[in-house]
């Protein structure tokens, strides 16, 4: 095996950069895609901001729990948009029928996934950062005032979003664009169980263990503990991190198994519906 062959076997930051460049070109080439990144987070934040404003005027508890609804909306958007940012970059390859070209190029699955992860952060930054500034301007809610806690929340939510994004991409790879809707809807399956807008104790007792099996539940509970009780719960973040390690390992294994199955069934050559 030549030296060139050996170097092709190693993880290549240049190939990751090539894929990021491709997605950057795609984003740049379409202003509607850029607008779409910021549109829904803005609409959601404004709607929930006004709801919070209304209940603060009418309920003593919410007056004390300032920012929990807007905080929940913004953190939910990090989770949802993180996964969507990952999945949409992947779907761009399916829509362009480019998966075959990529899979017969020297690009390794881990390099492909790395590029998708980085692009999910880029897309998230484009969509959510302006919205956090609007939340500060309109409702006086400063997400960045959460400081280190925000970093812990962000890392845990991104890890979950990647785990789900990787697994869904594997499903689309194996089953074609017929499974595309999963990319848009799967995170909403998590919404009631991860207790975005209410404490876990609101759920029936028998359902609470299922909620505690999901990493984002710890983040949303942690956010309420911080905003209502003014206490940073490091224990919750560590639990979330441990669960995320399991979720991420599961997502990557699932993706690789589904990729293998796609190779066996010829799905990489027929990436339509």
């Amino acid at each position: 095996v030549s030296a060139a062959s050996e170097s092709a076997l190693a993880f290549s930051p240049r190939r990751v950069a090539a894929m990021m460049l491709r997605y950057w070109y795609l984003l740049r080439s379409s202003w509607p895609r850029l607008i779409e990144l910021i549109y829904w987070p803005t609409v959601q934040m404004i709607t929930w901001g006004f709801i919070q404003y209304y209940v603060m005027q009418n309920a003593g508890f919410f007056a004390r729990a300032g920012g929990t609804l807007i905080g929940a909306v913004l953190l939910w958007d990090i989770l949802f948009r993180g996964q969507l940012g990952f999945s949409v970059s992947f779907l761009e390859e399916m829509w362009a029928r480019n998966i075959g070209n990529l899979m017969m190029s020297p690009l390794r699955p881990i390099e492909f996934v790395s590029a998708l992860m980085i692009m999910s952060i880029v897309r998230l930054a484009i969509g959510v950062v302006p919205v956090t500034l609007l939340a500060l301007l309109f409702f006086g809610f400063n997400l960045y005032a959460l400081g280190f806690a925000l970093v812990a929340f962000f890392i845990n939510l991104m890890l979950t979003s990647w785990a789900v994004g990787i697994f869904v991409s594997g499903l689309v790879l194996r089953n074609g664009l017929g499974a595309e809707n999963l990319a848009w809807s799967i995170m909403f399956l998590f919404m009631p169980l991860t207790c975005v807008y209410y404490p876990v104790t609101t759920l029936p007792t028998w359902l609470q263990p299922a909620a505690w099996a999901l990493p984002p539940t710890y983040v949303f509970e942690g956010m309420r503990a911080l905003l209502i009780g003014h206490a940073f719960r490091a224990d919750l973040m560590l639990h979330a991190l441990a669960l995320n390690a399991i979720f991420l390992a599961g997502g990557i294994c699932g993706f690789l198994l589904l990729l293998q199955a796609a190779r066996r069934h010829g799905a990489l050559m027929q990436t339509g519906e």
């Binding site: 062959s5 092709a8 460049l21 491709r22 070109y25 362009a96 070209n101 017969m104 690009l107 066996r264």
Partner: protein, 156 residues
């Protein structure tokens, strides 16, 4: 199967000594595939597509190489046009490893012609032309595709 996109149900495919698809990353940087059924992403310009794939394949001085290729294949005027806006003829020219036989004749040192999964012939372009008594590789390809083995026998 040759490119590692499909796992064989039985048998083995070896390319440049590597077992496909298990050892594909040892050789994929030295291979490519072109067919009228495979297209480059439509929304990127030709230059952008070539830059991305050049980087994926480890091409050095990608920008310079694209300029050179643009001149060689008479594509310089088209480099900044979205790939999806090209005519069918222009797309064919854009394909670097073209299926255009005259380019195969000009660029390749070795040509393998396959039919129904089996290698029908394997030689240099000049020897293939001589063996089939033809003036172009298109004619040789058609002889093989249409099963006109007599062309080769008559020429020999």
């Amino acid at each position: 199967m040759i490119m590692g996109l499909l796992t064989p149900t039985s048998g083995r495919v070896k390319v440049l000594g590597a077992d496909m698809p298990h050892q594909r990353y040892r050789v994929l940087h030295r291979m490519n595939f072109e067919s009228p059924y495979v297209e480059m992403p439509m929304r990127l310009t030709i230059r952008q597509n070539l830059t991305v794939f050049g980087m994926l394949y480890g091409v050095r001085n990608v920008a310079k190489r694209i300029e050179e290729l643009g001149e060689t294949l008479d594509l310089s005027q088209l480099l900044d046009r979205p790939t999806g806006k090209l005519s069918a003829g222009q797309k064919t020219r854009v394909s670097l490893a073209s299926h255009n036989m005259s380019e195969v004749e000009r660029l390749c040192q070795r040509v393998i012609i396959m039919k129904q999964g089996r290698i029908e012939d394997d030689d240099t372009p000049a020897r293939l032309l001589s063996r089939y008594g033809r003036r172009t590789l298109e004619e040789v390809f058609l002889d093989v595709a249409r099963g006109r083995e007599d062309a080769r026998e008559a020429a020999q």
